[in-house]
């Protein structure tokens, strides 16, 4: 598995924890998966925690979809 695969797994696990009934698709925004603003905060904070990263939430406000979130996080992890 690549680093990106590892990050993707973490992102998908965290989404599933906050939104158990969501059908995750990489080309969708978290909003489209049914996440309200509080859910989005919890997903981002949980992912950062699991990856051992500290970053302002504002860094992720313009990320268009789940795949792009994985890309941005994978870049930071590496």
């Amino acid at each position: 598995m690549t680093m990106r695969d590892d990050v993707e797994l973490v992102v998908h696990q965290q989404i599933a924890e906050i939104l158990p009934s969501a059908r995750i698709s990489g080309d969708l925004h978290l909003k489209d998966l049914g996440a309200d603003s509080v859910d989005r905060v919890e997903i981002l904070l949980g992912v950062l925690d699991r990856l051992g990263l500290r970053a302002p939430l504002s860094d992720f406000r313009d990320v268009p979809n789940v795949d792009a979130l994985v890309d941005v996080l994978a870049e930071r992890v590496s």
Partner: protein, 412 residues
């Protein structure tokens, strides 16, 4: 030297709508009510404006002062994002209708939902400086809502009203920890009021900024104050409340970052240290820069304070500027605030149907629009007023004459 809040009161209108009724009326997804954690929102009436809200919040505070004490109110600051004029302040009207001394400085400040805390800190510094021993300062955060269906999920969370904060040397409500504060500010366009009839907001930008600023403010606070531990230094927390669920998320974030507590284990701490501050905000909605002081009222009225307690307070205003500060409360705080009967005031508001609420919006959205001559027909709203239990005189806006706003006292 001690300084802080001597008296505190809020005015949150005479009408409210249940959040569920608003969700159903707008066709919003009721599954999202859980994270919102809101029960009702205050609704202004067309004869209420930033001046009437401010005066109606502050008058019970001023009425309890002896004449000699009232004469010592040397500074009046209104904090509002609902200005009525580019030049003339809301404070100038408030000064008149509260009958404050002519020897009082009068000014208005603006920084979205943060400005009242900047004003409180400036007032505390003025009192604590000792340059005018015995002086008092009155800070009033006052706003109206300019929200309708365009606000989507922000509409059920938007409140209206005012918080009046009297600052002096005998801080019976909150003794401010002098020098214990942390700030964080930078430019961002997360929400704004570009014109007198509407707001704009980018919800993720705003919520993320609120949460980032909280972390940074606490870091700054911690750098100024020795031996601070987020989990143990503060017996209670009272925060700016855009909606109650946001404060819960904010608490979880700080517990995660500064106490190493995973979200699932933060619930007990939230219930004990934060939940008492959310009872009133969940009945009113976002009170703009008065919000953190509404949360403080809620905390004092609902938490056991017999042994004294330290409160951590957080204020955030879009744009943005923010502050984390702290102070002490005790049984005197509870006695002082009980005289204001905030719970009775909120319970006495008239419950509106969605149709009544929607019918008020066109007039409410014109509240801040300058008009040379205008008449507000207060009697047209008697049907709503008859269902409210205020039990006191309230100031009402009767219109404008040559751009000068006119007011009357009405017994409700």
């Amino acid at each position: 030297m001690t300084a802080g809040i001597e008296a505190l009161n809020v005015y949150c209108g005479v009408a409210q709508i249940p959040v569920r009724a608003l969700f159903e009326g707008r066709g919003l997804d009721v599954d999202r009510m859980g994270n919102l954690m809101m029960r009702n929102r205050s609704v202004g009436l067309p004869f209420e404006d930033p001046v009437t809200n401010a005066v109606n919040a502050a008058r019970p505070v001023i009425d309890r002062l002896e004449p000699a004490e009232k004469d010592r109110v040397e500074l009046l600051i209104t904090s509002t994002e609902s200005g009525l004029d580019y030049s003339k302040s809301v404070a100038s009207y408030v000064h008149e209708y509260l009958g404050l001394p002519t020897t009082c400085r009068v000014v208005e400040v603006k920084q979205a939902c943060y400005a009242a805390t900047a004003a409180v800190q400036m007032a505390v510094a003025y009192v604590a400086s000792g340059i005018s021993p015995g002086a008092k300062a009155l800070v009033i955060a006052t706003d109206v809502a300019l929200v309708d269906e365009r606000g989507q999920y922000a509409e059920p969370a938007t409140g209206a009203g005012a918080a009046a904060v009297l600052i002096g040397e005998d801080p019976r409500v909150l003794t401010v920890d002098l020098g214990a504060f942390g700030n964080h500010s930078y430019e961002t366009m997360d929400s704004a009021r570009p014109a007198p009839t509407f707001d704009i907001a980018d919800s993720d930008r705003s919520l993320f900024a609120y949460l980032d600023c909280l972390t940074n403010c606490f870091e700054d606070y911690r750098s100024r104050v020795e031996d601070v531990d987020f989990a143990t230094t503060f017996d209670y927390l009272a925060m700016h409340t855009p909606f109650a669920g946001m404060v819960k998320a904010a608490h979880r974030k700080l517990m995660r970052e500064f106490a190493g507590t995973p979200p699932a284990q933060a619930e007990e701490d939230f219930t004990r240290r934060v939940l008492p501050s959310l009872t009133y905000p969940s009945m009113v909605g976002n009170l703009c820069s008065g919000s953190v002081y509404l949360a403080l009222c809620s905390l004092i009225d609902h938490a056991p304070l017999d042994g004294g307690a330290r409160v951590g307070l957080y204020s955030y205003g879009s744009g943005c500027s923010s502050e984390f500060f702290s102070g002490l409360v005790d049984h005197r705080s509870a006695e002082e605030l009980a005289a204001m009967r905030v719970g009775d005031h909120l319970a006495g508001r008239c419950e509106l149907t969605f149709e009544e609420y929607a019918g008020l919006l066109p007039a409410n959205l014109r509240c801040l629009v300058p008009e040379q001559d205008r008449r507000v027909d207060v009697e047209a709203y008697e049907g709503i007023l008859d269902r409210a239990r205020a039990g006191r005189d309230l100031l009402v806006n009767t219109g404008t004459k040559d751009y000068h706003r006119t007011y009357e006292w009405l017994s409700i």
